[in-house]
Symmetry: C2
Subunit: 392 residues, 2 copies
């Protein structure tokens, strides 16, 4: 088999992630590798921790990047906080709630599912009903920003309910962190995980997590060892939390952490609130363009995530063909529907460095050109002025 | 806290890993990110698989890079192959055998430990005795190249013994792959894991694994689900093995896989046998230099790994001070002892791109200069000619 060095095509990434990586992040990624126990690297790790605390809006000591993708960050939360026999209220309103259930069950816990419509926020009333019906539940788990649908749940209210019923909370913030408010301390979130490849403008492969004192206490008081050696926070803490006396656990992904350091620095330079505003402003512009074409977003306005826009596919239009043409003709990636929404929606991401006016214009223009060419019943000629007006 | 972009010092990495990363690999790492379901990326994944099959010398279909460091590759082997109640013969001759035991126990298995001296190969006779005494054992696990001591075990014989007693084998090849012969198919290894940051000259963070048909059969016939969702090969296979019909599992670390692709390409260009010869030749030169100074390697000659040299620390010499001076004065990293050997040895790596004559000269010269300056009882003036002669 003939194999040559791989030169990737240059894409604009407006799917559900990975999103466009900031050039400064790519540059940082390729700096020379040093040892994972080098004093210079340990100094950088301390900075990553401080920058992550800023991104999560928390003072939690136990805030660190798990050396693997978001799904491993999810699993890190579940394997550490759940012991066999624990009952967990799992809210599902898309694909990732189902994955949470898998995690609970593989830890020997039992999951009480609170089902919500896909494309809607988690209904706090249903969660409260489940809490009342299950006074022995110990944890409430929910997805703050459902990447599969673009719905945002009210994390503050859900955490408040959980605490009222003496439950800890595990929150999926993979798609929300950096794009929409995530306030770990103010909201009282006990355990949270995210990913680097969404609104942080960083390469995929790392999962920032944070645990408050209550969550740590549950981990310290476990009856049995965490089932995963790699994800056991008691061990990971010895490496990340040991100051100058770090115990070797695993070899950190050195260069990926250079990249995360740079990405978080860019976020801090912009300021979290400015980043949130940018995502909201650009979301409104994208929405204006799509609606001017006659396309509709599936999530009700009050529950929409700015950074992930699920758009109904027009009647009679071949989903895969449109995405393939966007990719082949304009190097533009948008996402397919996932799970129950496969074939019904496109997912257009506006995440991190990809969330820029020029990308909105490109996306709306390319979509209009291709849909018109394929004979879709859309309005033409109105989308770009609508985007322009919304951005003004 | 004032935080600036992180510019790492330029080190020469001659510790136990990460080792020096090839400049071509760093350059590949920073190429523009594309989607993990992009057809161009999927094509590259196929090439990575073929290149890994070459590195492992196997035709195993289930050969892929786990999206996390070597310890996660280890755990991937154990969680998939072990079910609660399974008995596993675990050979220990250093730190990593102990970690295998942790893995077995956290999977609900029971570990029968075969203890060997640290710094020695695993003794096949002891393994055979354990197999005879435990006819209900299902798996034999051992470390091919013990990174904590520099000892190499006879993988071919150990696998043969295991098969004679109807056991599957799990082999740790984190430090051996690319540096010393690893012949998965010829030796009949059933499950194997490695790391990218040793003799592959790649950045840390990814763990290549391979499973033969017998191992896959055990996984397919499991009585219960794999306890880890992230590492469940039944799910990972849907992503890596699906050809054009890949099922989304997790977001692959896109850029890290560009790097691995390039690193494996470099290995194929050199040729595995040439890489093995290079490691051996340079090991002999390093050894000549160290011995000319009067230093000794702790592993008996026949059991030595060329790529990881554990050297006794001379009497009265402050271990940490020497390593700190090497780092601060010459930007040279060597490794400390680990576990039972902490404070007793240095570990000098000659791995992948770091395994070059210029690095040997630097290391021997720097060590001689610093040890002489610190008043160690070593012979001076003879090491560099000895290196030169060995390389000639």
């Amino acid at each position: 088999m003939e194999i040559h060095p791989f030169n990737p095509p240059i894409r604009t990434l407006m799917g559900p992630g990975p999103s466009d990586v900031h050039p400064r992040v790519l540059e940082a990624l390729s700096r020379p590798t040093i040892g994972h126990l080098d004093p210079a690297f340990i100094g950088m790790m301390e900075e990553v921790k401080v920058l992550l605390q800023y991104a999560f809006q928390t003072d939690n000591e136990l805030t660190l990047p798990v050396s693997a993708p978001g799904s491993a960050g999810m699993e890190t939360c579940f394997v550490n906080l759940i012991e066999p026999g624990d009952k967990v209220i799992v809210c599902q309103n898309g694909v990732f709630g189902g994955r949470m259930r898998e995690n609970v069950e593989r830890c020997g816990g039992s999951a009480v599912m609170v089902e919500n419509d896909w494309g809607r926020a988690v209904d706090p009333q249903r969660v409260e009903d489940a809490l009342k019906a299950n006074p022995d539940a110990q944890i409430v788990a929910f997805v703050h920003a459902e990447t599969s649908t673009g719905a945002q749940s009210d994390a503050k209210s859900l955490v408040g309910l959980a605490h009222k019923h003496d439950c800890l909370t595990i929150v999926d913030a993979v798609t929300s962190l950096g794009g929409t408010p995530v306030k770990v301390d103010v909201w009282g979130i006990d355990a949270i995980y995210s990913g680097t490849q969404k609104c942080l403008s960083c390469v995929p492969g790392i999962s920032p997590v944070s645990f408050n004192e209550r969550a740590q206490e549950k981990i310290r008081n476990r009856r049995q060892k965490v089932q995963s050696w790699f994800m056991d926070l008691n061990l990971v803490m010895g490496y990340w939390g040991g100051g100058n006396k770090r115990a070797y656990h695993h070899t950190a992904p050195v260069n990926a952490l250079y990249a995360l350091h740079e990405a978080l620095l860019i976020l801090r330079e912009e300021g979290l609130e400015n980043a949130w505003k940018r995502h909201q402003r650009n979301h409104l512009a994208l929405r204006a363009g799509l609606e001017a074409m006659g396309l509709t977003l599936i999530v009700p306005e009050a529950e929409r995530l700015p950074q992930l826009n699920a758009v109904s596919i027009p009647e009679g239009i071949d989903d895969a063909k449109v995405r393939a043409r966007l990719l082949n003709e304009y190097n533009l990636e948008i996402g397919a529907g996932l799970g129950a929404l496969a074939g019904q929606v496109w997912r257009i991401g506006l995440m991190g460095h990809a969330c820029r006016p020029e990308n909105i214009l490109l996306c709306v223009a390319a979509l209009e050109a291709i849909l018109a060419d394929m004979g879709a019943e859309i309005k033409t000629g109105e989308a770009l002025p609508a985007v322009q007006k919304a951005l003004a």
